[in-house]
Amino acid sequence: MKDMEEWKEKPQRTALSGKAWFLQGMKAGVPIGMGYFAVAFTLGIAARKTGLNAAQAGFMSATMLASAGQFAGFGALASNAGYLEMIVTEIVVNLRYLLMSGALSQKVMRDKPFFHRLLMAYGVTDEIFAVSMGVEGRLHPCYMYGAAATAAPGWVLGTVMGALLGMILPARAMSAMGVALYGMFLAIVIPPAKKSRIIAGVVVVSMAASALFTRLPGLQKISSGFQIIILTILVSGAAAILFPVLEEKEEPKDAA
């Protein structure tokens, strides 16, 4: 990611077999699945409160694979919203996936058949997106399949268990697992920030702006899904204008 040209200079990367990519993806998916389990457990409890049974909750998690989207879905179901409202809610809450999917569309290897793009789309979650963009150079679709193969079961299983068992895990364990996903985000963001002052600046500005959004009256009323979209567009847009990524050598140009 830090240097998108690298894939051209390192042909052995692209020479990795699909199976090797899949295994790498599976490895990256394990901590995601663990984090998912904890979050999904609470999701399952919420599903029960909405009146869904464990099978419906599991179906929902398996097909949607989205935390905010599913929580919003409970709201829509609980208020007997119409189908159109459900559609609009899901589009708005998940709009960030549109951006992530757009970024992935440029990252994926060009020589792979089209159907891979349709399959990969299933795995576009915050976390799987994070590890996929963290891959050096171009992305093989099998990496995402591997990550989804170990991460998604944690999500589905957690939801079903939560719906069936409620709060049975010790509170301490739940609390500790709550940071697993954030730890992973930081593991994606910090190493490139170490190498590029611009990326480091972008990270700090993003976090500061995000903190501001949750504090300022008025702004804090914006749903978290929308906050992510607005901030992503604003900060990425500003960074793209101020520090364009050069065409020949794809690293942000250091102004200093």
């Binding site: 998108m4 990256a28 394990v30 901590p31 984090g35 869904l52 419906q56 929902m60 097909t63 949607m64 179901l77 007997n80 919203a81 119409g82 189908y83 809610t89 589009i91 709009l95 996936y97 549109l98 951006l99 999917s101 970024a103 569309s105 994926v108 793009r117 789309a121 576009v124 994070a130 301490r172 609390s175 500790a176 709550g178 940071v179 697993a180 996903l181 954030y182 730890g183 985000f185 930081l186 593991a187 994606i188 963001v189 910090i190 190493p191 972008v202 990270v203 993003s206 995000s210 903190a211 949750t214 906050q227 992510i228 901030l231 992503t232 900060v235 990425s236 960074a239 793209a240 065409e247």
Partner: protein
């Protein structure tokens, strides 16, 4: 009309899939615009940063254990960068912090 729950679940699942699939399906060509390329280059860093902070501070039982998790993750990510170790390290830090608190 009362919407059917199962049909509602299906409608939402299809909607979210389309949101994820359309850009991947439609943006097949390499984008040439330097602005859009740069924009998409920064999207992961910004979106992940925005999602992490300050949310991590309220993800655990207390602010302080959340802060411990954040500090541990930041330090391990800086020194090591391995996804699994950063994640586990953050969890352990939270667990230990909550034993003390």
């Amino acid at each position: 009309m009362q919407p059917d729950t199962n049909l509602g679940l299906l409608v939402m699942a299809v909607t979210i899939y389309l949101v994820r699939a359309l850009p991947l399906a439609l943006l097949q060509k390499e984008i040439r615009s330097p602005f859009i390329r740069s924009f998409l280059f920064y999207v992961p860093y910004v979106s992940l940063s925005v999602m992490t902070f300050p949310a991590i501070l309220s993800a655990t039982a207390s602010f302080w254990s959340g802060l411990a998790g954040l500090a541990a993750a930041a330090v391990i990510a800086w020194a090591d960068g391995n996804l699994f170790r950063v994640s586990i390290g953050a969890c352990v830090a939270v667990f230990l912090a909550e034993l003390v608190i």
